[in-house]
Amino acid sequence: MTTTIHSDLPRNFQKPRTPLGKVAKGSEERFGLAAGIRKQLNKVFPDHWSFMMGEIALYSFIILLLTGTYLTFFYDASMAEVAYNGTYAPLQGVEMSRAYETTLNISFDVRGGLVIRQIHHWAALMFVAAMTIHMFRVFFTGAFRKPREANWLIGLSLLTLGVVEGFAGYSLPDDLLSGTGLRIADAIMLSIPVIGSWVSFLVFGDEFPGTDIIGRLYIAHVLLIPAVLAALIGAHLALVVKQKHTQFPGPGNTEDTVRGERVYPVYAAKAGGFFFLVFGVLAGLGGLAQINPIWLFGPYNPAQVSSGSQPDWYMAMLDGSTRLFPQWETRLFGYTVPSVFWPTVVLPTILLTLAAAYPFIEARLTKDRDAHNLLQRPRDVPVRTSLGMMAISFVVVLFIGGGNDLVAKVFNISMNAMMWGLRIALLLVPPMVYMITYRLCIGLQRHDREVLEHGIETGIIKRLPSGEFIEVHQPLGPVDAHGHGELEYAGTSVPKRMNQVGGATRAIAGFFRPVREKPDVLEQLEAIHQAELESSVSHGGSVEVQAHRRQLPE
């Protein structure tokens, strides 16, 4: 590039003068980033409300890292016995572990510690919930299909690890509730055939509870699992960037193109803003919605438990399966397989294996080996949708089972009737949900075809000369000789009301008064449209329009 060219360049192409420009130029000379960075700034993200779930999970994870790091400044993962001497008077003098004492200190003696602790707990619940719903979205729209099977597996690993991470964190305060949870975890380990008691002693370092478990859970909770989570999230996002988002079909959304907004500036502003929205909601929850008030439970004591003991929500399913499973303890050749083994080890293993294998099972059964970048509407794949709903209903029954004592108490139902009802429901509800979902999908499919063929119901009733009444239908596109629509179903939403096709003015919205178009914007738009119209006509060489055009302000 010669100097002569430089002298011709407009101001913004000349040597940088601003500090920012100098930094940019300096970095460019050293790292050569311009082309690569521009590519990332120009990356296109599609916009659909259902794509936000993964974002919520990601942001919750970041918030967990921030708040969690803060909590480590005050927490001591020690099971050494101390007598409490802090601010919370009702527990003064009580013997407890250092872990419980320091958690109390965070709650009572650290300025603002409780709000951070509660934000951390809420963010953990949100993290797992967002991942779960994100997985549902991916499942029901077929986003897991080739080429994205790897990301489905990464997602499943993230969800599983997220639950383990959550349980580890929940156990750290060493309070009565979480200690009881750990004791059940010990029973689950003990139940594993052949190696169970060795696994339990390996994890706890002694007979339950021992003195090691809190320290081990701590390092797993703050280092090992988060490191794996962060690495998996990195791989997950890298794959999303490489493979790009899936998208519902539409104009510009094809197997080869993605349509949306560029990262910079619009998407960055929206996503960055969304991070603050998620953080804001979690902060509000952390302040207003009390969670895990460990000072009410007291320190862990193997001889005590309170009624209505409930774990965090993502454990409710496992808790439910443990409650509902029958008392089938097997003894073989002098060895025992406790009943706990089946609902807590075997069942989750089966469910996770099925979920992990699903993309491959579906590809094999449908013989569909193509790469897909476009999403499917759940109704268009009735078998998958019904299978998914069946799985969800199974888990929901288990979830209710996890709180069967509370349900029995609130609704004044016999505990025993509740348990038997849920056991039966666990077997009956999923197949019923499968059938209902399947019929719903078929019905929705038919209705789409019906509207494409006969048009939208306008609500206008016409009386024919013969006296017959008919409803006038608005066709969506060209019609054949019989008046039937010729548009094919395109795998996307079919408008079914007149105001979805501009056939009616916007419904009146607004809290206090009707929302109207802004008059000044409307005028400007009209002027511009007019100009557009004229310029397109002007290419045809209309003298009149040319003359008219000169009157418009340039």
């Binding site: 055939p193 008691s197 493979q243 560029r262 500036p265 804001g280 902060a283 193997p302 005590q304």
Partner: protein, 397 residues
């Protein structure tokens, strides 16, 4: 932000060769783009004026304004701005100012909430005070902090989203996915590179190297695992089979006082422990001492007829299902309920599970009494439990 280039026919959005806009133009530019890879510019020479139809020359860029140059860059990245419109074509209108004001209000509220957060953080008392011994305003501390922090963060979030939705230009952009596999030529060359490298190592021929490397690699893979897991392994021994109760162990309450037959009313129940070092804390030792009502009788298990003492019986408190303390006792029905998974044990049926997931009766502790130094009777255990307490495990007989 200039309005030029935003669907404004007066200033065509096509920045140069390549172009933005209609699909026809796009496919042309793509077709040309693939042609370029056949004739790469030689290294070290100045790039020709039109190195790629997608990338304008510096001289061409010099003629463009910021937006045109941006659009040219997008095209070079396979990103096509199909539609782009300033939401307020004429700057400074009332509705634009209103939108700007609303966004600014969000940020201002956020700022004020943060200041209020700081004031609350510093000024509001946060130490817990017993009711009646001082001001209870500390109850407001955490809710106020959370609310103000929430408002502040939410304000920034809402402001940013509204800014993007109301004030930034609306745009519809289409990007080529380029997601598929590499070209076949690339695949072949990469495969050849791998293969050639493998051949260079000679591993295929040198089987001695292969096998010894395999041994070393295998050992490196497994030995550290053994070292890590080996350090963690603990032999269970008979710890799961035994508790701290032995022959003649005094039976005490949680506070260390010895349990005496005169302590309980008929129908009463209390948790007791072995009166030895660490007995109250041990997870396998909590035991329920129950005094039956006069008309109640228990049908004991085989060989356990003498495990009770008068109208007293003692059972392990640890549920045989998952190890929670089965601590809810319904005196009327003499049933014990474990609150974790709702297993129910009928004491009169020798603590047999009558409902829920538990499969085994609660183990029974053989009870006896001895005379204390004060001449009173005190409970002792006649031996340890004769079966393992708590949840089942593989080696359990």
């Amino acid at each position: 932000m200039t309005t030029s280039g935003m669907d404004d026919p007066a200033a065509p959005t096509r920045p140069g060769p390549g172009g933005v806009g209609s699909g026809a133009e796009r496919s042309t530019s793509l077709g040309d783009g693939t042609g370029v890879t056949d004739q790469p510019a030689p290294r070290g020479l100045p790039a020709p004026e039109h190195s790629s139809p997608d990338v304008p020359s510096v001289a061409e860029l010099a003629q463009m304004d910021t937006e045109q140059a941006m659009l040219a860059g997008a095209v070079a990245d396979g990103v096509f701005v199909e539609h782009r419109r300033n939401r307020y074509p004429v700057p400074g209108t009332r509705s634009e100012k209103r939108a700007e004001l609303a966004v600014a209000a969000c940020f201002a509220i956020s700022f004020l909430a943060m200041i209020a957060f700081l004031v609350v953080f510093v000024a509001v008392p946060f130490k817990w005070v017993l009711p009646g011994q001082g001001s209870q305003t500390f109850h407001l501390y955490t809710p106020l902090l959370g609310t103000l922090l929430g408002i502040s963060l939410f304000g920034v979030g809402i402001g940013a989203v509204l800014w993007a939705k109301w004030l930034m230009p609306e745009e519809e952009v289409v990007q080529d996915r380029h997601g598929g596999p590499s070209s076949e030529a690339d695949q072949l060359m990469t495969a050849a590179t791998f293969k050639s490298g493998f051949e260079d190592t000679g591993l295929a021929r040198r089987s001695l190297l292969k096998s010894t490397l395999g041994l070393a690699g295998g050992a490196l893979g497994i030995v550290p695992l053994v070292a890590v897991v080996g350090g963690l392994v603990k032999k269970p021994g008979n710890k799961l089979q035994t508790t701290l109760f032995t022959k003649g162990t005094p039976i005490v309450y949680a506070d260390g006082r010895r349990a005496s037959p005169s302590d309980l009313q008929a129908g009463g129940l209390v948790t007791v422990f072995p009166g030895v070092e660490g007995g109250v804390k041990a997870a396998d030792s909590p035991t329920l001492l129950i005094r039956l009502r006069p008309n109640q009788k228990i049908k004991p298990r085989e060989n356990q007829a003498d495990y009770g003492w008068n109208d007293y019986v003692a059972y392990s408190k640890i549920c045989t299902h998952a190890g929670c303390p089965a601590s809810l006792y319904e005196q009327q029905t003499s049933r014990l309920l474990c609150p974790c998974h709702q297993s129910q044990f009928d004491v009169l049926l020798d603590a047999k599970p009558v409902f829920g997931p538990a499969a085994r009766s609660l183990p029974r502790l053989p009870l006896g009494v001895e005379k204390g130094p004060d001449g009173k009777d005190y409970f002792i255990s006649l031996s340890d439990y004769t079966e393992p307490i708590g949840p089942g495990f593989w080696e359990r007989k």
